[in-house]
Amino acid sequence: MPTLPGVHLKDEIAKITHRLRELGLSRQVDRAVWDKIELARHAERPYTLDYIHHMFPGFIELAGDRCFADDAAIVGGLAAYMGRTIMVIGHQKGRDLAARTRRNFGMPRPEGYRKAQRLMLLANKFGIPVFTMIDTPGAYPGVAAEERGQAGAISATLLCMARLDVPIVAVIIGEGGSGGALALGLADRVLMLENSIYSVISPESCAAILWKDSGEAHLAAQTLKLTSSQVAELEVIDAVLPEPRGGAHRDHAGAAHIVKEALEDNLRQLEALHPQKRKQERFAKFRRMGIWRENGLTLF
Protein backbone atom coordinates (compact mmCIF):
# COMPACT_ATOMS: atom_id res chain seq x y z
CA MET A 1 0.00 0.00 0.00
CA PRO A 2 1.34 3.42 -0.80
CA THR A 3 1.77 5.91 2.00
CA LEU A 4 -0.83 8.48 1.21
CA PRO A 5 -0.30 12.21 1.55
CA GLY A 6 -2.26 14.22 4.09
CA VAL A 7 -1.79 11.89 7.04
CA HIS A 8 -1.39 13.64 10.36
CA LEU A 9 0.81 11.52 12.49
CA LYS A 10 -0.24 12.84 15.89
CA ASP A 11 -3.91 12.05 15.32
CA GLU A 12 -2.97 8.65 14.06
CA ILE A 13 -0.94 7.75 17.10
CA ALA A 14 -3.83 8.73 19.37
CA LYS A 15 -6.20 6.53 17.40
CA ILE A 16 -3.87 3.59 17.41
CA THR A 17 -3.31 3.84 21.13
CA HIS A 18 -7.05 3.82 21.65
CA ARG A 19 -7.52 0.88 19.32
CA LEU A 20 -4.76 -1.10 20.98
CA ARG A 21 -6.50 -0.65 24.29
CA GLU A 22 -9.72 -2.00 22.79
CA LEU A 23 -7.85 -4.98 21.45
CA GLY A 24 -6.32 -5.58 24.84
CA LEU A 25 -9.83 -6.22 26.14
CA SER A 26 -10.31 -8.87 23.54
CA ARG A 27 -6.99 -10.59 24.09
CA GLN A 28 -8.72 -13.85 24.88
CA VAL A 29 -10.60 -13.84 21.60
CA ASP A 30 -7.32 -12.96 19.92
CA ARG A 31 -5.60 -15.94 21.47
CA ALA A 32 -8.41 -18.20 20.27
CA VAL A 33 -7.92 -16.97 16.71
CA TRP A 34 -4.19 -17.65 16.77
CA ASP A 35 -4.77 -21.09 18.22
CA LYS A 36 -6.95 -21.90 15.26
CA ILE A 37 -4.29 -20.73 12.83
CA GLU A 38 -1.78 -22.98 14.54
CA LEU A 39 -4.21 -25.88 14.33
CA ALA A 40 -4.91 -25.19 10.68
CA ARG A 41 -1.17 -25.40 10.02
CA HIS A 42 -0.48 -28.25 12.44
CA ALA A 43 2.09 -30.69 11.08
CA GLU A 44 -0.04 -33.66 12.17
CA ARG A 45 -3.23 -32.29 10.68
CA PRO A 46 -4.69 -34.66 8.09
CA TYR A 47 -3.83 -33.70 4.53
CA THR A 48 -5.74 -34.46 1.34
CA LEU A 49 -4.14 -37.90 0.90
CA ASP A 50 -5.00 -38.74 4.52
CA TYR A 51 -8.64 -38.01 3.88
CA ILE A 52 -8.45 -39.98 0.65
CA HIS A 53 -6.89 -42.88 2.53
CA HIS A 54 -9.77 -42.97 5.00
CA MET A 55 -12.62 -42.04 2.68
CA PHE A 56 -11.80 -43.69 -0.65
CA PRO A 57 -9.98 -47.02 -0.40
CA GLY A 58 -10.02 -47.62 -4.18
CA PHE A 59 -8.60 -44.21 -5.13
CA ILE A 60 -6.82 -44.14 -8.51
CA GLU A 61 -4.49 -41.20 -8.87
CA LEU A 62 -4.31 -39.54 -12.28
CA ALA A 63 -1.31 -37.44 -13.18
CA GLY A 64 -0.24 -34.60 -15.38
CA ASP A 65 -1.46 -31.47 -17.09
CA ARG A 66 -0.67 -32.95 -20.59
CA CYS A 67 1.42 -29.89 -21.11
CA PHE A 68 4.42 -29.35 -18.89
CA ALA A 69 4.60 -31.41 -15.70
CA ASP A 70 2.86 -33.33 -12.99
CA ASP A 71 2.60 -31.01 -9.98
CA ALA A 72 2.72 -32.97 -6.74
CA ALA A 73 1.29 -30.02 -4.81
CA ILE A 74 -2.13 -30.92 -6.21
CA VAL A 75 -3.28 -34.53 -6.31
CA GLY A 76 -6.35 -35.83 -8.05
CA GLY A 77 -8.01 -38.97 -9.23
CA LEU A 78 -11.01 -41.22 -9.41
CA ALA A 79 -12.64 -42.84 -6.41
CA ALA A 80 -15.56 -45.14 -5.85
CA TYR A 81 -18.13 -43.53 -3.65
CA MET A 82 -21.75 -44.23 -2.68
CA GLY A 83 -21.82 -46.92 -5.35
CA ARG A 84 -20.65 -44.60 -8.06
CA THR A 85 -17.64 -42.53 -9.04
CA ILE A 86 -16.33 -39.21 -7.75
CA MET A 87 -13.40 -37.08 -8.89
CA VAL A 88 -11.27 -36.04 -5.92
CA ILE A 89 -8.82 -33.14 -6.24
CA GLY A 90 -6.89 -31.43 -3.47
CA HIS A 91 -3.81 -29.52 -2.43
CA GLN A 92 -1.21 -31.80 -0.87
CA LYS A 93 1.41 -30.84 1.69
CA GLY A 94 4.23 -33.14 2.78
CA ARG A 95 4.79 -34.34 6.30
CA ASP A 96 8.55 -34.97 6.31
CA LEU A 97 11.26 -32.86 4.70
CA ALA A 98 11.53 -34.92 1.52
CA ALA A 99 7.77 -34.96 1.03
CA ARG A 100 7.52 -31.26 1.78
CA THR A 101 10.06 -30.48 -0.88
CA ARG A 102 8.42 -32.80 -3.38
CA ARG A 103 5.02 -31.29 -2.62
CA ASN A 104 6.50 -27.78 -2.63
CA PHE A 105 4.87 -27.16 0.78
CA GLY A 106 1.49 -27.51 -0.86
CA MET A 107 2.09 -24.49 -3.09
CA PRO A 108 0.96 -25.33 -6.63
CA ARG A 109 2.57 -24.16 -9.83
CA PRO A 110 0.49 -23.49 -12.95
CA GLU A 111 0.66 -27.15 -13.98
CA GLY A 112 -1.08 -28.13 -10.76
CA TYR A 113 -4.05 -25.95 -11.63
CA ARG A 114 -3.99 -27.20 -15.21
CA LYS A 115 -4.06 -30.78 -14.00
CA ALA A 116 -7.05 -29.88 -11.84
CA GLN A 117 -8.83 -28.44 -14.88
CA ARG A 118 -8.10 -31.53 -16.93
CA LEU A 119 -9.51 -33.81 -14.25
CA MET A 120 -12.59 -31.63 -13.78
CA LEU A 121 -13.33 -31.73 -17.50
CA LEU A 122 -12.87 -35.50 -17.51
CA ALA A 123 -15.33 -35.75 -14.62
CA ASN A 124 -17.77 -33.48 -16.39
CA LYS A 125 -17.66 -35.58 -19.54
CA PHE A 126 -18.79 -38.67 -17.66
CA GLY A 127 -21.15 -36.98 -15.22
CA ILE A 128 -18.83 -37.60 -12.28
CA PRO A 129 -19.27 -35.18 -9.33
CA VAL A 130 -16.19 -33.22 -8.26
CA PHE A 131 -14.93 -33.04 -4.68
CA THR A 132 -12.08 -30.69 -3.83
CA MET A 133 -10.02 -30.33 -0.67
CA ILE A 134 -8.32 -27.02 -0.02
CA ASP A 135 -5.11 -26.80 1.99
CA THR A 136 -2.39 -24.46 0.76
CA PRO A 137 -0.46 -21.43 1.99
CA GLY A 138 -1.04 -20.10 -1.54
CA ALA A 139 0.10 -20.53 -5.12
CA TYR A 140 3.89 -20.77 -5.45
CA PRO A 141 5.55 -17.37 -5.89
CA GLY A 142 8.40 -18.11 -8.30
CA VAL A 143 9.77 -16.62 -11.49
CA ALA A 144 9.21 -19.70 -13.67
CA ALA A 145 5.72 -20.22 -12.26
CA GLU A 146 4.88 -16.64 -13.18
CA GLU A 147 6.35 -17.08 -16.65
CA ARG A 148 4.21 -20.15 -17.22
CA GLY A 149 1.12 -18.15 -16.32
CA GLN A 150 0.32 -18.61 -12.65
CA ALA A 151 -2.42 -15.97 -12.77
CA GLY A 152 -3.97 -17.34 -15.95
CA ALA A 153 -3.84 -20.89 -14.63
CA ILE A 154 -5.80 -19.84 -11.53
CA SER A 155 -8.38 -17.81 -13.44
CA ALA A 156 -8.85 -20.61 -15.97
CA THR A 157 -9.46 -23.07 -13.13
CA LEU A 158 -12.09 -20.78 -11.65
CA LEU A 159 -13.78 -20.49 -15.05
CA CYS A 160 -13.58 -24.23 -15.52
CA MET A 161 -15.39 -24.78 -12.20
CA ALA A 162 -18.01 -22.16 -13.03
CA ARG A 163 -18.79 -24.09 -16.20
CA LEU A 164 -19.02 -27.65 -14.86
CA ASP A 165 -22.41 -29.31 -15.22
CA VAL A 166 -21.68 -31.79 -12.45
CA PRO A 167 -22.08 -31.05 -8.72
CA ILE A 168 -19.02 -29.63 -6.96
CA VAL A 169 -18.36 -29.82 -3.23
CA ALA A 170 -15.29 -28.14 -1.73
CA VAL A 171 -13.99 -28.56 1.80
CA ILE A 172 -11.36 -26.31 3.32
CA ILE A 173 -9.43 -28.81 5.42
CA GLY A 174 -6.51 -26.69 6.63
CA GLU A 175 -5.03 -23.53 5.20
CA GLY A 176 -7.19 -21.74 2.69
CA GLY A 177 -4.54 -19.30 1.53
CA SER A 178 -5.51 -16.65 -0.99
CA GLY A 179 -6.03 -17.17 -4.74
CA GLY A 180 -4.12 -20.43 -4.70
CA ALA A 181 -6.78 -21.86 -2.40
CA LEU A 182 -9.80 -20.24 -4.01
CA ALA A 183 -8.78 -21.77 -7.36
CA LEU A 184 -10.28 -25.06 -6.13
CA GLY A 185 -13.14 -23.36 -4.30
CA LEU A 186 -15.71 -22.21 -6.84
CA ALA A 187 -18.11 -24.95 -5.74
CA ASP A 188 -21.83 -25.52 -5.28
CA ARG A 189 -21.11 -26.13 -1.62
CA VAL A 190 -18.09 -24.81 0.23
CA LEU A 191 -17.61 -26.37 3.64
CA MET A 192 -14.96 -25.55 6.19
CA LEU A 193 -13.53 -27.68 8.95
CA GLU A 194 -13.80 -25.99 12.33
CA ASN A 195 -10.07 -25.38 12.78
CA SER A 196 -9.27 -24.41 9.23
CA ILE A 197 -8.74 -20.87 7.99
CA TYR A 198 -9.69 -19.07 4.79
CA SER A 199 -7.99 -15.80 4.08
CA VAL A 200 -7.13 -13.34 1.35
CA ILE A 201 -3.59 -13.07 2.72
CA SER A 202 -1.54 -14.72 5.44
CA PRO A 203 -1.58 -12.80 8.75
CA GLU A 204 2.22 -12.50 8.55
CA SER A 205 2.19 -10.87 5.13
CA CYS A 206 -0.75 -8.69 6.08
CA ALA A 207 1.08 -7.43 9.15
CA ALA A 208 4.24 -6.81 7.13
CA ILE A 209 2.31 -4.66 4.71
CA LEU A 210 -0.07 -2.78 6.97
CA TRP A 211 1.87 -2.58 10.22
CA LYS A 212 5.27 -2.71 8.49
CA ASP A 213 6.06 -5.41 11.05
CA SER A 214 5.37 -9.10 10.51
CA GLY A 215 5.52 -9.49 14.32
CA GLU A 216 2.02 -8.01 14.37
CA ALA A 217 0.67 -11.17 12.77
CA HIS A 218 -1.57 -11.81 15.79
CA LEU A 219 -3.16 -8.42 15.36
CA ALA A 220 -3.60 -9.00 11.63
CA ALA A 221 -5.09 -12.43 12.27
CA GLN A 222 -7.64 -10.92 14.62
CA THR A 223 -8.70 -8.25 12.21
CA LEU A 224 -8.71 -10.36 9.01
CA LYS A 225 -11.57 -12.60 10.21
CA LEU A 226 -10.24 -15.83 8.82
CA THR A 227 -11.53 -18.51 11.19
CA SER A 228 -14.35 -20.80 10.16
CA SER A 229 -16.95 -19.11 12.34
CA GLN A 230 -15.91 -15.64 11.21
CA VAL A 231 -15.88 -16.65 7.56
CA ALA A 232 -19.30 -18.27 8.00
CA GLU A 233 -20.65 -14.99 9.36
CA LEU A 234 -19.58 -13.28 6.16
CA GLU A 235 -21.66 -15.85 4.22
CA VAL A 236 -18.71 -16.92 2.12
CA ILE A 237 -19.06 -20.59 3.02
CA ASP A 238 -22.07 -22.84 3.37
CA ALA A 239 -21.30 -24.71 6.58
CA VAL A 240 -18.72 -25.30 9.27
CA LEU A 241 -17.88 -28.94 10.03
CA PRO A 242 -17.06 -29.74 13.67
CA GLU A 243 -13.79 -31.55 14.25
CA PRO A 244 -13.07 -34.48 16.56
CA ARG A 245 -12.31 -33.48 20.15
CA GLY A 246 -9.01 -31.58 20.34
CA GLY A 247 -8.78 -31.11 16.58
CA ALA A 248 -8.54 -33.17 13.42
CA HIS A 249 -4.85 -33.94 14.01
CA ARG A 250 -5.76 -36.11 16.99
CA ASP A 251 -8.09 -38.36 15.00
CA HIS A 252 -7.64 -38.56 11.25
CA ALA A 253 -10.23 -41.30 10.85
CA GLY A 254 -12.75 -39.33 12.87
CA ALA A 255 -12.16 -36.20 10.83
CA ALA A 256 -12.49 -38.17 7.60
CA HIS A 257 -15.75 -39.62 8.83
CA ILE A 258 -17.14 -36.15 9.46
CA VAL A 259 -16.05 -34.95 6.02
CA LYS A 260 -17.50 -38.04 4.38
CA GLU A 261 -20.90 -37.60 6.01
CA ALA A 262 -21.00 -33.95 5.01
CA LEU A 263 -19.98 -34.81 1.47
CA GLU A 264 -22.73 -37.42 1.18
CA ASP A 265 -25.29 -35.08 2.56
CA ASN A 266 -24.44 -32.25 0.24
CA LEU A 267 -24.05 -34.43 -2.83
CA ARG A 268 -27.45 -35.94 -2.25
CA GLN A 269 -29.01 -32.50 -2.10
CA LEU A 270 -27.12 -31.31 -5.16
CA GLU A 271 -27.87 -34.37 -7.26
CA ALA A 272 -31.57 -33.92 -6.65
CA LEU A 273 -31.37 -30.69 -8.65
CA HIS A 274 -31.45 -30.47 -12.42
CA PRO A 275 -27.95 -29.54 -13.64
CA GLN A 276 -29.19 -26.27 -15.07
CA LYS A 277 -30.91 -25.32 -11.82
CA ARG A 278 -27.79 -26.33 -9.90
CA LYS A 279 -25.64 -24.07 -12.04
CA GLN A 280 -28.09 -21.21 -11.64
CA GLU A 281 -27.84 -21.55 -7.89
CA ARG A 282 -24.04 -21.69 -8.10
CA PHE A 283 -23.98 -18.45 -10.05
CA ALA A 284 -26.55 -16.77 -7.80
CA LYS A 285 -24.47 -17.66 -4.77
CA PHE A 286 -21.24 -16.17 -6.07
CA ARG A 287 -23.10 -13.21 -7.43
CA ARG A 288 -24.20 -12.44 -3.84
CA MET A 289 -20.65 -12.53 -2.47
CA GLY A 290 -19.56 -9.23 -1.00
CA ILE A 291 -20.96 -6.53 1.25
CA TRP A 292 -21.38 -2.95 0.10
CA ARG A 293 -23.46 0.17 0.60
CA GLU A 294 -25.99 1.27 -1.96
CA ASN A 295 -28.58 4.04 -1.65
CA GLY A 296 -27.90 4.23 2.07
CA LEU A 297 -28.44 0.48 2.57
CA THR A 298 -25.74 -2.05 3.39
CA LEU A 299 -26.29 -5.05 1.17
CA PHE A 300 -24.99 -8.55 1.52
Binding site: M1, P2, P5, G6, V7, E12, I16, R19, A139, Y140, P141, G142, V143, E146, E147, G149, Q150, A151, G152, I154, S155, A156, L158, L159, A162, S178, G179, L182, A183, L186, Y198, S199, V200, I201, S205, C206, A208, I209, L210, W211, A220, T223, L224, K225, L226, L234, V236, R282, F283, F286, R287, R288, M289, G290, I291, W292, R293, E294, L299, F300
Partner: protein, 317 residues
Protein backbone atom coordinates in the same frame (compact mmCIF):
# COMPACT_ATOMS: atom_id res chain seq x y z
CA UNK B 1 -2.39 -11.63 -2.83
CA UNK B 2 -0.16 -9.13 -4.42
CA UNK B 3 -0.78 -5.91 -2.59
CA UNK B 4 2.90 -6.20 -1.90
CA UNK B 5 3.80 -5.01 -5.35
CA UNK B 6 6.13 -2.06 -5.02
CA UNK B 7 5.15 0.68 -7.36
CA UNK B 8 6.30 4.25 -7.40
CA UNK B 9 3.28 6.39 -6.85
CA UNK B 10 3.48 9.57 -8.79
CA UNK B 11 1.18 12.19 -7.30
CA UNK B 12 -1.49 12.96 -9.78
CA UNK B 13 -2.93 15.81 -7.77
CA UNK B 14 0.06 18.10 -7.74
CA UNK B 15 -0.46 21.67 -8.85
CA UNK B 16 -0.26 22.12 -12.61
CA UNK B 17 3.23 23.06 -13.60
CA UNK B 18 4.79 20.50 -11.25
CA UNK B 19 7.58 18.77 -13.10
CA UNK B 20 8.16 15.04 -12.83
CA UNK B 21 11.25 13.01 -13.67
CA UNK B 22 10.64 10.18 -16.14
CA UNK B 23 11.66 6.79 -14.69
CA UNK B 24 12.57 5.69 -18.22
CA UNK B 25 14.93 8.46 -19.30
CA UNK B 26 15.18 10.70 -16.21
CA UNK B 27 14.08 13.72 -18.23
CA UNK B 28 11.95 16.29 -16.41
CA UNK B 29 8.45 16.46 -17.80
CA UNK B 30 5.87 19.11 -16.99
CA UNK B 31 2.36 18.14 -16.00
CA UNK B 32 1.01 19.94 -19.06
CA UNK B 33 3.39 18.10 -21.33
CA UNK B 34 2.39 14.77 -19.83
CA UNK B 35 -1.29 15.49 -20.05
CA UNK B 36 -1.00 16.32 -23.71
CA UNK B 37 0.84 13.07 -24.44
CA UNK B 38 -1.69 10.86 -22.57
CA UNK B 39 0.86 10.46 -19.75
CA UNK B 40 3.43 8.89 -22.05
CA UNK B 41 6.96 10.29 -22.00
CA UNK B 42 7.44 12.03 -25.36
CA UNK B 43 11.13 11.30 -25.08
CA UNK B 44 11.41 7.55 -24.31
CA UNK B 45 7.84 6.30 -24.51
CA UNK B 46 7.59 5.37 -20.81
CA UNK B 47 3.93 4.88 -19.94
CA UNK B 48 2.95 6.69 -16.73
CA UNK B 49 -0.19 5.56 -15.00
CA UNK B 50 -3.41 7.13 -16.16
CA UNK B 51 -6.38 7.92 -13.91
CA UNK B 52 -9.72 6.25 -14.57
CA UNK B 53 -11.44 9.47 -15.66
CA UNK B 54 -8.58 10.34 -17.97
CA UNK B 55 -8.73 6.84 -19.41
CA UNK B 56 -12.43 7.18 -20.12
CA UNK B 57 -11.79 10.56 -21.75
CA UNK B 58 -9.12 8.95 -23.87
CA UNK B 59 -11.20 5.93 -25.00
CA UNK B 60 -14.84 7.06 -25.06
CA UNK B 61 -16.23 9.29 -27.77
CA UNK B 62 -16.83 12.70 -26.29
CA UNK B 63 -20.12 13.01 -24.40
CA UNK B 64 -21.11 9.34 -24.68
CA UNK B 65 -20.09 8.10 -21.21
CA UNK B 66 -22.93 7.07 -18.90
CA UNK B 67 -21.81 5.67 -15.61
CA UNK B 68 -23.23 2.46 -14.12
CA UNK B 69 -23.52 1.74 -10.39
CA UNK B 70 -21.74 4.98 -9.49
CA UNK B 71 -23.44 5.09 -6.11
CA UNK B 72 -21.92 1.86 -4.75
CA UNK B 73 -19.63 2.35 -1.75
CA UNK B 74 -17.64 0.06 0.48
CA UNK B 75 -19.43 -0.93 3.68
CA UNK B 76 -16.31 -1.76 5.74
CA UNK B 77 -17.71 -5.21 6.47
CA UNK B 78 -14.84 -6.28 8.76
CA UNK B 79 -14.63 -2.95 10.60
CA UNK B 80 -11.02 -3.22 9.58
CA UNK B 81 -8.42 -1.23 11.49
CA UNK B 82 -4.68 -1.35 11.01
CA UNK B 83 -2.74 1.83 11.65
CA UNK B 84 -5.91 3.63 10.61
CA UNK B 85 -9.50 2.55 10.09
CA UNK B 86 -10.39 1.28 6.62
CA UNK B 87 -13.32 3.70 6.46
CA UNK B 88 -10.93 6.58 6.85
CA UNK B 89 -8.62 5.25 4.14
CA UNK B 90 -11.61 5.02 1.82
CA UNK B 91 -12.69 8.57 2.58
CA UNK B 92 -9.23 9.82 1.89
CA UNK B 93 -9.02 7.90 -1.38
CA UNK B 94 -12.35 9.36 -2.44
CA UNK B 95 -11.14 12.84 -1.57
CA UNK B 96 -7.82 12.42 -3.38
CA UNK B 97 -9.07 10.77 -6.53
CA UNK B 98 -12.59 12.08 -6.87
CA UNK B 99 -13.70 8.48 -7.38
CA UNK B 100 -16.11 6.41 -5.28
CA UNK B 101 -14.08 3.25 -5.74
CA UNK B 102 -11.08 1.73 -7.54
CA UNK B 103 -13.23 0.96 -10.59
CA UNK B 104 -15.67 3.00 -12.58
CA UNK B 105 -18.08 1.38 -14.99
CA UNK B 106 -20.29 2.74 -17.70
CA UNK B 107 -21.56 2.57 -21.23
CA UNK B 108 -20.08 4.67 -23.99
CA UNK B 109 -19.24 4.70 -27.65
CA UNK B 110 -15.73 4.03 -28.85
CA UNK B 111 -15.33 5.26 -32.41
CA UNK B 112 -19.13 5.05 -32.59
CA UNK B 113 -19.19 1.47 -31.33
CA UNK B 114 -21.49 0.88 -28.34
CA UNK B 115 -19.41 -0.57 -25.54
CA UNK B 116 -19.52 -1.26 -21.84
CA UNK B 117 -16.31 0.05 -20.32
CA UNK B 118 -14.89 -0.58 -16.87
CA UNK B 119 -11.72 1.19 -15.78
CA UNK B 120 -9.66 0.66 -12.66
CA UNK B 121 -7.63 3.36 -10.95
CA UNK B 122 -4.46 2.43 -9.10
CA UNK B 123 -4.58 5.68 -7.13
CA UNK B 124 -7.64 4.45 -5.29
CA UNK B 125 -6.13 2.16 -2.64
CA UNK B 126 -3.75 0.56 -5.10
CA UNK B 127 -6.56 -0.40 -7.44
CA UNK B 128 -7.45 -3.17 -5.02
CA UNK B 129 -10.55 -5.29 -5.64
CA UNK B 130 -13.13 -5.38 -2.88
CA UNK B 131 -16.87 -5.98 -2.83
CA UNK B 132 -17.70 -2.83 -4.77
CA UNK B 133 -15.27 -3.56 -7.61
CA UNK B 134 -16.67 -7.08 -7.90
CA UNK B 135 -20.26 -5.88 -7.92
CA UNK B 136 -19.54 -3.14 -10.41
CA UNK B 137 -17.89 -5.63 -12.73
CA UNK B 138 -20.91 -7.92 -12.42
CA UNK B 139 -23.32 -5.12 -13.29
CA UNK B 140 -21.16 -4.05 -16.21
CA UNK B 141 -21.19 -7.62 -17.50
CA UNK B 142 -24.95 -7.77 -16.98
CA UNK B 143 -25.34 -4.60 -19.00
CA UNK B 144 -23.13 -5.94 -21.76
CA UNK B 145 -25.27 -9.07 -21.97
CA UNK B 146 -28.53 -7.16 -21.80
CA UNK B 147 -27.68 -4.70 -24.55
CA UNK B 148 -25.44 -7.18 -26.39
CA UNK B 149 -22.56 -4.72 -26.22
CA UNK B 150 -18.94 -5.86 -25.91
CA UNK B 151 -17.20 -5.23 -22.59
CA UNK B 152 -13.77 -3.64 -22.27
CA UNK B 153 -11.95 -3.78 -18.93
CA UNK B 154 -8.97 -1.51 -18.34
CA UNK B 155 -7.11 -3.07 -15.41
CA UNK B 156 -4.70 -1.58 -12.88
CA UNK B 157 -4.53 -3.30 -9.56
CA UNK B 158 -2.32 -4.38 -6.70
CA UNK B 159 -4.65 -7.31 -6.08
CA UNK B 160 -7.35 -8.00 -3.56
CA UNK B 161 -8.53 -5.43 -1.00
CA UNK B 162 -7.01 -6.84 2.19
CA UNK B 163 -9.24 -4.63 4.32
CA UNK B 164 -12.28 -6.58 3.18
CA UNK B 165 -10.64 -9.87 4.07
CA UNK B 166 -12.07 -13.04 2.62
CA UNK B 167 -14.85 -11.09 0.91
CA UNK B 168 -12.29 -9.50 -1.37
CA UNK B 169 -10.86 -12.91 -2.26
CA UNK B 170 -14.28 -14.11 -3.31
CA UNK B 171 -14.57 -11.28 -5.82
CA UNK B 172 -12.26 -13.38 -7.98
CA UNK B 173 -14.92 -16.09 -8.10
CA UNK B 174 -17.68 -13.56 -8.58
CA UNK B 175 -16.07 -11.76 -11.51
CA UNK B 176 -15.19 -15.14 -13.07
CA UNK B 177 -18.86 -16.12 -13.01
CA UNK B 178 -19.67 -12.79 -14.67
CA UNK B 179 -17.14 -13.55 -17.42
CA UNK B 180 -18.77 -16.93 -17.99
CA UNK B 181 -22.17 -15.30 -18.39
CA UNK B 182 -20.68 -13.06 -21.07
CA UNK B 183 -19.20 -16.15 -22.73
CA UNK B 184 -22.58 -17.81 -22.84
CA UNK B 185 -24.23 -14.80 -24.52
CA UNK B 186 -21.66 -14.52 -26.21
CA UNK B 187 -20.55 -10.92 -26.01
CA UNK B 188 -16.93 -10.04 -26.75
CA UNK B 189 -14.77 -9.24 -23.73
CA UNK B 190 -11.41 -7.53 -24.14
CA UNK B 191 -9.08 -6.66 -21.30
CA UNK B 192 -6.44 -3.94 -21.37
CA UNK B 193 -3.73 -4.50 -18.80
CA UNK B 194 -1.89 -1.43 -17.56
CA UNK B 195 0.91 -0.93 -15.05
CA UNK B 196 0.56 -2.70 -12.68
CA UNK B 197 -2.02 -5.48 -12.94
CA UNK B 198 -1.30 -8.12 -10.34
CA UNK B 199 -2.76 -10.52 -7.79
CA UNK B 200 -6.44 -11.32 -7.69
CA UNK B 201 -7.41 -9.11 -10.60
CA UNK B 202 -4.85 -10.70 -12.91
CA UNK B 203 -5.89 -14.13 -11.61
CA UNK B 204 -9.55 -13.56 -12.39
CA UNK B 205 -11.31 -11.50 -15.05
CA UNK B 206 -8.19 -9.78 -16.45
CA UNK B 207 -6.78 -13.02 -17.89
CA UNK B 208 -10.16 -14.44 -18.94
CA UNK B 209 -10.79 -12.03 -21.78
CA UNK B 210 -11.19 -13.13 -25.39
CA UNK B 211 -8.33 -10.87 -26.33
CA UNK B 212 -5.76 -9.55 -23.86
CA UNK B 213 -3.97 -6.32 -24.72
CA UNK B 214 -1.27 -4.75 -22.58
CA UNK B 215 0.36 -1.36 -22.50
CA UNK B 216 4.18 -1.41 -22.89
CA UNK B 217 6.23 -1.92 -19.76
CA UNK B 218 3.29 -2.89 -17.56
CA UNK B 219 4.06 -5.21 -14.64
CA UNK B 220 1.78 -8.23 -14.92
CA UNK B 221 2.34 -10.89 -12.28
CA UNK B 222 0.33 -12.88 -9.80
CA UNK B 223 2.81 -12.53 -6.95
CA UNK B 224 4.65 -9.28 -6.45
CA UNK B 225 8.37 -9.12 -7.29
CA UNK B 226 9.32 -8.53 -3.64
CA UNK B 227 7.47 -11.64 -2.44
CA UNK B 228 9.18 -13.71 -5.08
CA UNK B 229 12.62 -12.33 -4.24
CA UNK B 230 12.02 -13.21 -0.59
CA UNK B 231 10.96 -16.72 -1.59
CA UNK B 232 13.70 -17.61 -4.02
CA UNK B 233 16.38 -15.50 -2.30
CA UNK B 234 17.70 -14.23 -5.59
CA UNK B 235 17.22 -11.05 -7.52
CA UNK B 236 14.78 -11.23 -10.40
CA UNK B 237 15.49 -10.88 -14.11
CA UNK B 238 15.24 -7.29 -15.30
CA UNK B 239 12.16 -7.94 -17.40
CA UNK B 240 10.41 -9.94 -14.68
CA UNK B 241 6.66 -9.86 -15.12
CA UNK B 242 6.74 -7.10 -17.69
CA UNK B 243 4.27 -7.06 -20.55
CA UNK B 244 7.09 -7.85 -22.97
CA UNK B 245 8.05 -10.96 -21.01
CA UNK B 246 4.41 -11.99 -20.76
CA UNK B 247 4.07 -11.65 -24.52
CA UNK B 248 7.01 -13.91 -25.28
CA UNK B 249 5.76 -16.38 -22.68
CA UNK B 250 2.43 -16.62 -24.43
CA UNK B 251 0.29 -14.98 -21.74
CA UNK B 252 -1.08 -11.99 -23.66
CA UNK B 253 -2.10 -11.29 -27.25
CA UNK B 254 -0.37 -8.02 -27.98
CA UNK B 255 1.29 -4.90 -26.63
CA UNK B 256 -0.16 -1.65 -27.89
CA UNK B 257 1.24 1.81 -27.10
CA UNK B 258 -1.31 4.14 -25.55
CA UNK B 259 -1.59 6.45 -28.53
CA UNK B 260 -2.67 3.53 -30.75
CA UNK B 261 -4.89 1.89 -28.17
CA UNK B 262 -8.26 3.31 -29.11
CA UNK B 263 -7.86 2.46 -32.79
CA UNK B 264 -6.57 -1.02 -32.13
CA UNK B 265 -9.30 -1.69 -29.59
CA UNK B 266 -12.00 -0.80 -32.05
CA UNK B 267 -10.44 -3.03 -34.69
CA UNK B 268 -10.41 -5.97 -32.29
CA UNK B 269 -13.97 -5.33 -31.12
CA UNK B 270 -15.12 -4.93 -34.69
CA UNK B 271 -13.60 -8.27 -35.63
CA UNK B 272 -15.18 -10.08 -32.69
CA UNK B 273 -18.51 -8.35 -33.28
CA UNK B 274 -18.34 -9.32 -36.94
CA UNK B 275 -17.98 -12.87 -35.83
CA UNK B 276 -20.95 -12.68 -33.49
CA UNK B 277 -23.08 -11.16 -36.21
CA UNK B 278 -22.10 -14.07 -38.40
CA UNK B 279 -22.81 -16.64 -35.72
CA UNK B 280 -26.27 -15.32 -35.04
CA UNK B 281 -27.35 -14.59 -38.58
CA UNK B 282 -30.06 -17.14 -39.37
CA UNK B 283 -28.31 -18.52 -42.44
CA UNK B 284 -30.07 -21.82 -41.92
CA UNK B 285 -33.70 -22.43 -41.09
CA UNK B 286 -33.41 -24.42 -37.89
CA UNK B 287 -31.54 -21.65 -36.14
CA UNK B 288 -33.79 -18.81 -37.13
CA UNK B 289 -35.26 -18.61 -33.63
CA UNK B 290 -31.96 -17.64 -32.08
CA UNK B 291 -31.80 -14.00 -30.98
CA UNK B 292 -30.15 -11.66 -33.43
CA UNK B 293 -28.01 -8.69 -32.57
CA UNK B 294 -27.13 -5.32 -34.00
CA UNK B 295 -29.43 -3.08 -35.98
CA UNK B 296 -31.42 -0.23 -34.41
CA UNK B 297 -34.42 -2.37 -33.44
CA UNK B 298 -32.41 -4.93 -31.49
CA UNK B 299 -30.61 -2.11 -29.71
CA UNK B 300 -33.83 -0.35 -28.83
CA UNK B 301 -35.44 -3.55 -27.57
CA UNK B 302 -32.41 -4.23 -25.45
CA UNK B 303 -32.60 -0.79 -23.92
CA UNK B 304 -36.30 -1.09 -23.11
CA UNK B 305 -35.73 -4.46 -21.52
CA UNK B 306 -32.86 -3.06 -19.51
CA UNK B 307 -34.93 -0.15 -18.25
CA UNK B 308 -37.79 -2.42 -17.29
CA UNK B 309 -35.40 -4.53 -15.28
CA UNK B 310 -33.58 -1.60 -13.75
CA UNK B 311 -35.21 -1.57 -10.29
CA UNK B 312 -34.62 -5.26 -9.90
CA UNK B 313 -31.14 -4.98 -11.26
CA UNK B 314 -30.10 -2.30 -8.82
CA UNK B 315 -30.64 -4.71 -5.95
CA UNK B 316 -28.76 -7.91 -5.46
CA UNK B 317 -30.13 -10.92 -7.32
Amino acid sequence: MAQRVSVNISRRNGAPGDAESCPGCKQLLSAAELKESLNVCPNCGHHFRLGARERVAMLADSGTWEEIAAHLRSADPLEFFDLRPYSERIEEAEYDTGLGEAMIAGTCRIHKMDTVLVVMDFSFMGGSMGSVVGEKFWRAADTAIEYRFPLVAVCASGGARMQEGILSLLQMAKTTCAVDLMSQAPVPFVSILTHPTTGGVLASFATLADVIISEPGALLSFSGPRVIEQTIKESLPDDFGLAESNLSHGQIDMIVPRNQLKDRLVQVLGMLEGGVACALEPLWEEEAGRPGRGGPLAGALGRIKALANAPWRSLKG
